[in-house]
């Protein structure tokens, strides 16, 4: 199992550009998440998905969009990039079973700089 994979690892964008961060998991997890991590701060939830075709906003969704057409993939779209979106982005997945707690497995992250 590769677990959770993310591409690209690094990216520099100009203000106003758009891009898609890719995330794929091969663990057949039903839940997937996007977080951002700023220096000295905890992870902040951007969007999450409870299954294919179902997504919902997290704590900091403005400026981002997601889709989930398959169980495996959960891309994050940045429209009109702004310097405030400079951060490290992590994708995570989990399987919510009977115990109903949420052990999340994280990808390696994408470091994004907007100049």
């Amino acid at each position: 199992n590769a677990g959770v994979t993310q591409t690209p690892k690094f990216r520099i964008l100009k203000i106003g550009q758009s891009m898609t961060l890719q995330c794929t998991q091969d663990m057949n997890h039903n839940y997937m998440y996007w977080y951002r991590q700023d220096p000295g701060m905890g992870l902040k939830l951007i969007y999450y998905s409870v299954g294919a075709g179902i997504t919902d906003k997290g704590e900091v969704p403005n400026g981002y969009n997601v889709s989930r057409s398959t169980t495996e993939d959960f891309p994050l779209r940045l429209e009109l990039a702004a310097p405030s979106q400079t951060s490290v982005y992590f994708c995570a997945s989990s399987y919510l079973g009977g115990r109903a707690t949420d052990t999340q497995y994280f990808g390696p992250g994408t470091r994004l700089t907007v100049l």
Binding site: Y31, G42, K44, L45, G58, A92, D102, F106
Partner: protein, 111 residues
């Protein structure tokens, strides 16, 4: 407001010098508390889940404990390879799938 506070922000230890990291939380009802380890440039790696006060879990030199308002991550006789950032996160009983992360404790272990 629900929150998770970790202390200290940074901790420097000598190899073999045992210590503890603290995670205090305020949520209306706890579904689970999680500890993760994060190495520089990598994603968080799951360590433990604790569900109720009094519960303890161990893995190698790490032991996590839980009370009603805080959790401790005890590190016994640490080695340089234990150097990392340790993240605490909580999930509420009625919070849907909202997981609140603390800012982390950066641990440095010197040989």
């Amino acid at each position: 407001e629900d929150q998770v506070t970790q202390s200290p922000e940074a901790l420097r230890l000598q190899e073999g010098e045992s210590s503890s990291l603290n995670c205090s939380y305020t949520v209306s009802g706890l579904r689970g508390l999680f500890w993760y380890r994060q190495d520089p440039g990598k994603g968080p790696e799951f360590l433990f889940t604790l569900y109720s006060a009094g519960e303890e879990k161990e893995k190698e030199r790490l032991k996590a404990t839980l009370t009603k308002k805080e959790s401790f991550l005890h590190i016994t006789a640490p080695k340089p390879e234990d150097s990392a950032t340790y993240l605490c996160a909580v999930q509420e009983e009625t919070g849907g799938f909202k997981t609140i992360f603390g800012a982390g404790t950066r641990l440095f272990v010197k040989a």
